[in-house]
Amino acid sequence: MKLLNTLIRSVLNYLEELGQLSRFAGKFFREVVRRPFEGRELLRQCYNMGNKSLLLVGVTGFIIGLVFTLQSRPKMLELGAAAWLPSMVSISIVREIGPIITALICAGRIGSGIGAELGSMRVTEQIDAMEVSGTNPFKYLVVTRILATTLMIPILVVMSDAIALFGSFLVESIKGDVSFRLYFDEVFASLDFIDIIPATLKTFFFGFAIGLVGSFRGYYCKHGTAGVGVAANTAVVETSMLLFVLDFLAVMVTDIFY
């Protein structure tokens, strides 16, 4: 009985938080179209986010491309399908691995950063200070960050895809001796719009989710300094879960249309 009660309570809690999150998202859409636009702050955020995660995303992408090709190459050879390797690698990376891995890394890197930064601004009353000085802190802090992640994650994903494909090419050229030209001809020949458009579209949603959840957790941070850690941590965990859900939905939707 007690167990059931706790279960019900936690489900209700969860639903309530979901409701708050969607109100938060609603507020974003109301504020994003209203003047004044914080253009400079938006640019600064974009720059910071790109700057902060470029190396990480690049290195991870490269290694993924490398490892993925190394792992699948023997099997492909065994099946006599070595010629298919570039197209298989490129389709898996562009459609799935690149977007989700990059988004997960950015959830850890950028999402937690937003949660911690806004959280500490909340507990040290900096957000209140903005409010009383007549600047709308939601616009200045939250809207700019959500927009920045929504714009930057797709760019980072494209770069990560490119670097991963390059990593894969390196393996191929060392082990199988193909030219750069030939390899990438194969790659582009196998990629259709069907692969690229939905894969790119979903990265905007990934970016939005990272900014939204990070800002939500930070903006409503409670319980002093300890709460800042909790905010950063929950932001990462919840964003990661949300990313998988979104990815699943994206695949379902794509499936309906094609």
Partner: protein, 253 residues
Amino acid sequence: MPKNPIYENRKPVITIRGLKKTFGQNAVLNGFDMDLYEGETLVIMGKSGSGKSVMIKCLIGLETHDAGTINIMGRDMENVSEDELRDIRTEVGFLFQGSALYDSMTVRENLEFPLRRHKRKFGGISDTTPMVIEVLESVGLAHAIDLMPEELSGGMKRRIALARTLILRPRIILYDEPTTGLDPITSKEIVLLMKSIQQKYSTSSIVITHDVDCARFISDRMILLVDGVNYAEGTFAELDASADPKVQAFFKS
């Protein structure tokens, strides 16, 4: 209502009546009344957790109150538009208990930040540097203009926060425990600074403090906040002489 004749001709700039605020089961304010008269410094004392910060946050609209009325310079806070609220907030400065400097910005950027939305008030100024330097000089920290908040001591932070409040030329300043966490000498400096600002810009102020010396030095009038109501009001001398044990408790130590 003030018994003191010096208030008879003055008009109140802030009026609070029957302010109530409850957090869950915790009734913090139970019908708090207050008037702030033009040009006076009103000190509010109360035990830690008695709701002083909550009261002042309701006043400026950072917290919503459950019941009661708040009137600032003739405008009811219950039904102001967002634009009006922003205008009121240029007239009412707030010094936060923990300074609340923006720690990703330099001192200069901290001071320029409030000007972003209020250039209108100063006739569309384009170069803010003279204003920044002027307020920094009035708090004695002109040399700190390019430092980051983390490079400042607690006392310096408090002064910069005060400068950030002053840059909008408020007519009313709310100080939330301006001397808490500072050593006695620095506290004294801050209190002197508050006094000189009060004279220089002829502001009205509400000062929340535990510091009896600060209260004695700066107050024109005092209110003791006990159990969520204005338990006692009067000048420092009047309250100090009171026989009520709850009032005495503040002055004994």
